[in-house]
């Protein structure tokens, strides 16, 4: 037998023994957690992020014609567009625009899909049915970032809606197919974009009424609960990252409108910030609302791992798994409206 390899085997046995020792020595965390409670301090959302009511279309944009009046001229972020008659065949290219069109009672003839998502997200299907259509009536025009121009042209649209984020270079091509109106497209800008898009459809007042309704329902929830002493943490678990959703995420805006405090990890000026596993306790809150990519919210952990279990909100039973699609993947009036509904339910359950 060679002499040296014994050293190898010995060190391996040592490794095994050390591992066993480590497992045996681990302190009892169950005991340590008994006195743990949410000890952090919530941060109020900056006031300039609040207010569905105060939203206005950027100066010089929109249309001078009244509600439902056609032909109309719309000034938008990529130029000025004439829309000769009330659009009946609308194509929505960018994210959130299907939500917006449906919320104004218009079923587009074509729409794009986000990566790994259906053309019509599940949460919009009931609205499509209410409007007397079916999800399959909305043709797919390909992925949001690479819309298929031929598919759009084949639908013979009379209005195309898009936004600047990722599509800027396509504006000329789309305009050649049909009158095209572009919005800004930043996720935190959805309310302004909503009004501009509604203005192109001749339904701006309806959109303003929708935002007003969101504001009123938020006030109602705020009156029934004590948002200024409640910290709400929104967490999104993805395969290899945990994101603390910030004040500019759609759900973050809903929380801001109600007036909740947010944990220190929730960025005030961004959609989200990654939180490392080691610092996850800083994303704790009185209430925890979490979704996970690919999780429907129906399973107890939303499909995510057990990383969140160390948060006091989970141990106190103040954590709710929600549908990631509604809460964290989409922006718009219908998504916000559903988020408000679910928030009211979560708060009611928490109060019991």
């Amino acid at each position: 037998m060679p002499r040296r390899p014994q050293l190898t085997r010995r060190s391996l046995v040592l490794t095994g023994a050390a591992t066993a020792l480590l497992v045996a020595c681990a302190p009892d965390l169950e005991q340590a957690e008994a006195d743990a409670d949410f000890a952090g301090e919530g941060v109020p959302v900056p006031t300039d992020h609040v207010g569905y009511r105060d939203v206005v279309i950027a100066e010089g944009m929109g249309s001078e014609q009244g509600e439902g009046e056609f032909p109309r001229t719309v000034q938008h972020v990529a130029g000025t567009t004439e829309i000769p008659a009330e659009p009946l065949r609308v194509v929505t290219v960018s994210g959130g625009q299907l939500d917006a069109a449906l919320s104004l009672g218009i079923v587009p003839v074509g729409s794009s899909n986000a990566k790994a998502a259906n053309t019509v997200p599940g949460y919009l299907e009931p609205t499509v049915l209410e409007l007397g259509s079916a999800a399959r009536d909305i043709a797919s025009i390909g992925q949001r970032t690479e819309p298929q121009l031929e598919a759009i042209a084949a639908l013979e649209p009379d209005l195309i809606l898009g936004n600047l984020s990722g599509l800027e270079e396509l504006y000329e091509d789309l305009s050649a197919i049909a009158p095209t109106v572009f919005t800004e497209g930043a996720p935190d800008n959805w309310r302004e974009d909503y009004l501009l898009l509604a203005s192109a459809l001749g339904r701006q007042e309806q959109a303003e009424a929708n935002l007003e309704e969101l504001a009123q329902r938020s006030e109602q929830i705020a009156a029934e609960h004590a948002p200024d002493s409640t910290t709400v943490s929104l967490i999104r678990v993805q395969e290899d990252r945990i994101r603390s959703m910030g004040c500019l995420a759609t759900a973050g805006m809903v929380m801001a409108e109600i007036g909740f405090l947010r944990p220190a990890t929730a960025p005030a000026d961004a959609v989200s910030e990654d939180v490392s596993l080691e610092n996850l306790d800083q994303a704790d809150g009185d209430l925890l609302i979490h979704g996970s990519l690919g999780g429907s919210g129906e399973s107890s952990d939303g499909g995510g791992g057990d990383e969140l279990e160390r948060l006091s909100a989970v141990r106190r039973g103040m954590a709710s798994a929600v549908d990631d699609e509604i809460w964290f993947q989409n922006a718009g009036y219908l998504a916000s409206s559903l988020i408000l509904d679910e928030t009211a339910e979560i708060l009611a359950a928490a109060a019991r």
């Binding site: 390899p5 190898t8 085997r9 060190s11």
Partner: protein, 349 residues
């Protein structure tokens, strides 16, 4: 069995070897000390703001819940995982290079990585697996099955499986499987997202419990490696000469293949594919100890965990988030490999 003399390759090198005593023992001791230092760094560094006394208190079981959690549930498991994965990769890399007598051989050549990735992609796409514990079984099973397939293809036809035929079979099977894996992940965006993070290679978020089922295979792999180490010295001089020296060429090859399969498969199961470690560490070891396979294996066993733990520690510091260890080893490994390749005399086989 008699202890074989170091293979002789040219007078100049032999002369150099005589002129400079190899720092075998002192190098090993230094390596162990460094390993202890980086392992300690593995416990004391991280995104959480904890002083060293706080870490030490948490190690003795005293501290706030979150401090205890950070040290015991996050830092210790990932450091232990990095140690084990590194050791397995280092040994399997050294064995592969010795057996194939190819300085660019890597444990992945026999198909372990491609097989593991293929099985994980299947698991995600067909069975909706989404937990690290689940990936582990698919990865391990895939690595073992595909390495066995490569052996079968490599030894089909007349004559025994030569390293060259095995390498060709491994590369071919690996290419086919990678193609299928890519096709699966492109058709299934969910699988794509999950595979992307698995593919980076990481030791984060793995409970020590996962180690239990894999450790016996790794132990068996190391035992096989230990048995093969001596005869490998003879094989390094060529099959015919090895036979004339009394080495069992075929038996040694089988031992090496079993060891590489178990070690590379186990490491990939635990951490995903981590590149460069199995390729680079044996070169460093050879550079320190010379051509004796037994010493190369022992040094690889110390140096490879050193690299993986250090890469894991480094990955926590570089960005505000964390860089997976597989990406850091690639960043660290590539330049070191280039430097070593330029000192060909020192690290060539």
């Amino acid at each position: 069995m008699t202890v074989l003399p170091a293979p002789v390759r040219g007078d100049r090198e032999a002369a150099a070897s005589r002129a400079r005593p190899r720092p075998r023992v002192s190098g090993l001791v230094l390596g162990l000390v460094l390993l202890a230092v980086v392992a300690l760094a593995g416990l004391t560094t991280g995104s959480r703001d904890m002083s060293i006394p706080e870490v030490l208190r948490a190690l003795s079981g005293v501290g706030s819940y979150d401090d205890l959690y950070t040290v015991w549930v996050l830092r210790i498991p990932r450091t232990v995982m990095a140690l084990v994965v590194g050791a397995a990769l280092g040994i399997s890399g050294a064995l592969m290079q010795a057996m194939t007598r190819n300085p660019l051989a890597d444990p992945g050549i026999l198909g372990a990585n491609a097989g593991a990735a293929f099985a994980v992609a299947l698991g995600i796409a067909l069975w909706g697996v989404h937990e690290i514990g689940g990936y582990m079984w698919f990865a391990f099973g895939g690595a073992l099955a595909v390495t066995a397939l490569v052996h079968a293809i490599g030894s089909a036809g007349t004559g025994p499986a030569t390293p060259l035929r095995l390498t060709l079979a491994g590369v071919a099977v690996g290419a086919v499987l990678s193609g299928i894996t890519t096709a699966i992940t492109l058709r299934d965006p969910d699988a794509f997202d999950r595979m992307r993070s698995w593919h980076a290679g990481s030791v984060v978020g793995r409970d020590l419990d996962l180690l239990g089922p894999v450790l016996p295979f790794l132990v068996l792999g190391v035992v096989c490696a230990a048995l093969a180490a001596g005869p490998l010295n003879a094989i390094a001089m060529g099959d015919d000469l090895a036979r004339s020296l009394g080495a069992h060429v075929h038996r040694t090859r089988v031992l090496v293949l079993v060891a590489v399969t178990l070690l590379a498969g186990g490491a990939t199961a635990l951490a995903g594919p981590i590149g460069f470690v199995g390729l680079m560490i044996p070169h460093v070891a050879r550079w320190i100890v010379g051509p004796d396979q037994r010493w190369i294996l022992v040094h690889s066993l110390v140096l490879a965990p050193l690299l993986v733990v250090a890469a894991d520690v480094l990955g926590r510091q570089i960005t505000s988030g964390e860089l997976p260890v597989g990406i850091v080893t690639a960043f660290v490994g590539a330049p070191v490999l280039i430097v070593l390749a330029r000192r060909r005399r020192a690290s060539g086989l």
